[in-house]
């Protein structure tokens, strides 16, 4: 396996490559993105493993546990979770950062996992819906969704629950209007918003004092 990889690397060095082309543009054009600079650094320091185009081994810290996985650098975190790690809670719906069905929490921030590359998520704490419940006990947000019938088909629900949890982590005591604004990044097709609003307010109440980090 490794010998094949080495061969690919050698071939790439010798052939005309996108990286070589970018380098050829020169460093003084003033419109260079940090991405190009980063690539130059990579070339200058061969000790750092080249990322791709084949699968690379990475480790992701998901729900407090390290997960080793081999993915191509272009693979999104959403696809990595779903297709490589069997964590299918985050859903791929619009696939371009509009609907929020793939929402996870990365380093304390609510993010769309379809617009984050898996390799970018290395070294950060990733929370997914699968890590919310304690054995035998739902997280207060999930429980509140249940209590308020805040789901129908359920496809937007994992994303909504994570968005609500992330929102409440930063706004533990929100008003009704703040809930409406704070959860504007998630779309539901069945029309569960009435239940979701009630659920988030209930969860806020229950998480006061004994909040789940």
């Amino acid at each position: 396996m490794s010998s094949t990889k080495d061969e690919i690397r050698k071939k790439r060095k010798s052939a005309f490559s996108r990286r070589g082309f970018l380098k050829g543009l020169g460093a003084g054009t003033g419109v260079l993105s940090t991405g190009v600079l980063a690539e130059q650094e990579t070339d200058a320091a061969p000790a750092t493993p080249v990322q791709g185009p084949g699968a690379v081994a990475i480790t992701l810290d998901i729900n407090g546990r390290p997960h080793k996985v081999n993915v191509e650098p272009r693979t999104t975190l959403c696809d990595t979770l779903r297709n490589h790690l069997d964590l299918t809670g985050a859903k791929r719906v619009c696939d371009r950062g509009t609907c929020g069905a793939c929402t996870v929490i990365i380093g304390g921030k609510v993010m769309y996992s379809c617009t984050v590359l898996a390799i970018e998520a290395q070294g950060k704490k990733i929370q997914t819906i699968e890590g919310l419940a304690q054995p035998g006990k739902l997280h207060p947000v999930s429980q509140a969704f249940w209590d308020n019938d805040a789901q129908q088909c359920g496809y937007c629900t994992p994303g909504f629950v994570m968005a609500a949890k992330g929102f409440l982590d930063h706004h533990p005591n929100p008003t009704y209007e703040e809930v409406k604004k704070g959860l504007g990044g998630n779309l539901c097709r069945c029309g569960t918003y009435v239940g979701v609003r009630k659920a988030v307010l209930q969860a806020a109440k229950e998480m006061q004092g004994g909040r789940n980090a």
């Binding site: 859903k91 719906v93 619009c94 696939d95 371009r96 509009t98 609907c99 069905a101 019938d149 789901q151 129908q152 088909c153 359920g154 496809y155 937007c156 809930v179 409406k180 604004k181 959860l183 504007g184 990044g185 998630n186 779309l187 539901c188 097709r189 069945c190 029309g191 569960t192 918003y193 009435v194 239940g195 979701v196 609003r197």
Partner: protein, 596 residues
Amino acid sequence: MHEHDLSKVGTRAKPAGEQVAGDPDKAFQEAEVTSEGEYGIPVITHCCLEPHGQVVQWNGDKVEYWPSTQNVTQVGNDLAKLIEVPANQIHTHMDYMGGGFGSKFPPDLWGAEAAQLSKMSGGRPVKLFLDRATELTIAGNRPSVFAKVKTGAKKDGTITVWQSQTWATGGYTGGNLNVSLFPYVFNKLENKRLNHTAVSINAGSARAWRAPNHPQLSFVTCSALEDLAAKLNMDALAFFLKNIEITTRPQVYKAQLEKAAEMIEWKKYAHLRSDTTKGPVKRGLGIGVNTWGGLGHDSQCRVTIHPDGSVDVDLCSQDLGTATRTMIAMVAAETFGLTINQVKVGIGDTQFPPSGGSGGSTTIGGVTVSTRKATVNALGKLFDLLSPVMGVPADGLEAVDGRIQQKGNPSKSMTWQQACAKMGTQSISEMGQNKQAEAVKEGLINQGTSGVQMADVSVDTDTGIVKMNRMVAVQDCGLVVNPKTAESQVFGACIMSCCAALMEERIMDQQTGRVLNPDMEFYKLAGISDIGEIIVHMDITPEHDARGIIGLGEPPAVGGVAAISNAVANAIGVRVPMVPLTPNRVLAALSQRRIG
């Protein structure tokens, strides 16, 4: 293309023929007031969050099939025809699905392709789901309707005549519309002339979309009626009530209109067309009405009581998120005097007895009757067994609160577990079936529901932005099994109506015929902050209860578009002819400009 302009569709038009009732010409001559209007509601797509698709594994003789479907019992039979294998070799599984709204009944070509790929790969499982753009382009849509309507009335507000020319498209299959339902709900009108033309265009075909035909019929009818009321200088609610006798269920609609008016505080906020208060933001109220059938579909259920007291309730239905599972468990638990946690419901698997597809609000009636009958049959068998043991005739026993006892006599009883232990090693397994005609006679199920929606909107006449402040819904559906999930259905339907009234529209490129917004940025759905307050009143009365169980999914999804469109007209003083009521269209209507 250009389907909104009938004069431009040429040979793609298929007129459906004229329907005439009474004497519309004479009625128009005699009418003291007439009103004319044009109305349009565009093609919208289902935009299921989970796209259409499946996992399928063709391994030797066996095909294991996991589709996202509303139709577990039948979809495998349809796939069998496409891939030419005997239907009994296909095993269909579907525990959960992410939205269908009427578009997920057939296996589709992608189902057959995935099966062939699996076969070619030597039996590996193949997952094939549509990407978002394909989903919005070919996986179903709701046909448009465009209408020219003329109505006539007496000065006192009595409507006397309706005439409509409508046309519609759902894609290459055309766009049929059941125009005999015009004027919608106010259907017992004597004089009418109805013309409809189906227009085929080179685009993906229509599929059933929550209450097929009805939202469009309601939108056109209620808009035209509200315009007529405005012409009469009459309060819209008073006008609807004035004509209540020509509705299909006068007493029910009267009560529902009055209830909805009370909930939205009609007296406090209503005004004649055009909000004359100062400032750019105008506020208005509007009304929409709905009706639907909802008779329970064919369904068979198998119930097994095990000697340890556990209970299986199995039927090949599906839960689209409407709580089918919960309601099956509720009915079974009630029959056995158990809690719902003591009943294990099995659905979504073709190893279970067949049950209908979930479309047309037919599921709840179907599955509750088959479950009730199967559980009653099984309990009867258990009573037969216990009768000699307890020294009570079988028909003198009852199951309540986890016990089997002599009717009304808790001192002569045993626990459910003790009772089931008397079965020894043999389980009791019984079937139950919903036969529609029989179940209606028995008073278990019925069809025909009514509902009213009223909307309260604010329109910024500087920007054209419409804000939905409040919507109220009053809805009957016979005997309500689970009020909480029933309310959720109505909430959801109201929200969908807001999407269709204010945002949703499939936009086609007129040159290439491609969908220009097959994504979720530009095919707009309402977010949580776009939705105002929604107040739902389930119209639960002893009379409605006595009718039995009737489906609920479709009807509340019907009237909301009309209610919002009417509220906007009421606020700004002019009709915005076409929904969705985008800022562009609102501003154009305000400045008397004509746009598509």
